[in-house]
Amino acid sequence: MALFIYGTATNTGKGFFTHQDRQNFYLSGQPANVWVVGNNEKGALWLAEKNGVEKTKTEAQALVTAEVTAAQEAWDALSDEQKAMSSRPGQITLP
């Protein structure tokens, strides 16, 4: 069985994931509203309850890569002074 479920869902703020959720399953938020969720019953239920759209790992990775690439391009276009304020976003490899 795969370790993780991948999906997209919009973080609506308080209650989107609770203290108890964090005890029940692995959860990692990524760019492009991608969530990596521990593959157990409670994790799957959580994604469904949040109106999440399940993705394959490849699809989720593509979404994350596209958003990070766009952020990198935006950062590259900044002036040196502006670049000094922040780090260039790094690409993310989903687990």
Binding site: R22, Q82, A84
Partner: protein, 333 residues
């Protein structure tokens, strides 16, 4: 069957009542109720989602705690000319917009509470050198505070509005010029005190009072930690890995750090005044460039907000709640 004293090498205490402050894992016999009792972990520490902030900004100033956090200033997703003078206030449930800062700034420091807050330093819009000015917040409006002797940007501040300390950081971001300077604020004016041992910027920190500040990590590639005792700074146990531009909260004997670079950390470390411990609690969303500052009395709770990189993280807020312990009767049947 082996007895408890054989397994633990300790005798079980014989008490007439449950102890007031038992340690996790402590076992005792309550002679009044006739029960063997144990203090166990009720719920492990965790970060959970909180209400999304109003203003997209990061690397601004912060203060307050989980029920009275404030994010002030910073810069937004467009970067230019998006230096912010906005203030977002949190009440434990939702964010609302507060008064505007007099001088828009980012990478400054904050401390105090929502109704008695203080920000100082950082970088203003029109000057590349670190800002000398401070501003005080009363929960609705900002007024000018005392002027620091040395600029402090990407630094940290601990204490409260009328008794704060700001330490190290950059006096000029371009080229990066660090300073060992530390200054105390009494609500009116700033005065130099003992320098930190190692000048860094992008540090994390915490401290409930100005005499118990802690300096953690920073750029570049630093694991060093220093504690202030009201007079001087002393190097203490290091954190296990480099960390900069993250969030610190709590007191010198009960502190917490999370987030930061490199790599937008999700991990959380707690500090007991001597040792650092990697918490089981991790941020759901890794981040750096959080609002700089908090004033809370311990590491039982914390909040991280107004972070980067990227616009979504500027709004995403997470709350930390430490482990809870419960006392239970041991059943041997």
């Amino acid at each position: 069957m082996a007895g408890y004293n054989t397994i633990r090498g300790l005798r079980v205490k014989y008490l007439s009542a449950d102890p007031a402050n038992p340690e996790a894992g402590q076992v005792w016999y309550n002679s009044t109720t006739g029960n063997l009792r144990v203090d166990g972990i009720g719920q492990a520490a965790a970060w959970s989602s909180a209400a999304n902030a109003i203003t997209a900004m990061h690397a601004g100033q912060g203060f307050g705690g989980q029920s009275d956090a404030v994010g002030a200033g910073g810069y937004g997703p467009a970067l230019s000319p998006a230096y912010s003078n906005k203030t977002d206030e949190y009440n434990g449930t939702s964010w609302s917009e507060g008064g505007s800062i007099g001088s828009a700034r980012y990478t400054g420091q904050g401390c105090g509470s929502q109704t008695a807050g203080l920000i100082a330093g950082g970088n203003p819009v029109s000057n590349s050198e670190a800002f000398l000015g401070a501003e005080e917040y009363n929960g609705s409006a900002w007024t000018g505070g005392g002027t620091m002797g040395t600029g402090h940007g990407y630094a940290w501040m601990a204490g409260i509005q009328t008794a704060a300390i700001v330490y190290t950081g950059l006096t000029d971001p371009s080229p990066a010029t660090t300073s060992v300077n530390a200054e105390l604020y009494n609500g009116t004016s700033w005065a130099e005190v003992g320098n930190v041992n190692t000048a860094k910027y992008g540090i994390l920190g915490f401290g409930a009072t100005q005499d118990t500040a802690v300096k953690v990590g920073g750029t570049s590639a630093n694991t060093g930690v220093e504690e202030y005792n009201g007079t001087s700074w002393t190097a203490v146990n290091s954190i296990p890995a480099n960390r900069a531009d993250g969030m610190g909260s709590g007191a010198q004997t009960s502190g917490l750090i999370t987030a930061g670079n490199p790599g937008a950390y999700t991990s959380t470390l707690t500090y007991d005044g001597t040792n650092w411990t990697v918490s089981a609690a991790t941020l759901a969303t890794g981040r750096a460039g959080t609002a700089r500052g908090a004033t809370v009395s311990n590491n039982a709770t914390a909040i991280v907000h107004h972070s980067g990189p990227g616009a979504p993280r500027m709004l995403l807020t997470e709350e930390y709640n430490g482990p809870t312990t419960i006392v239970k009767t041991v059943s041997v049947s």
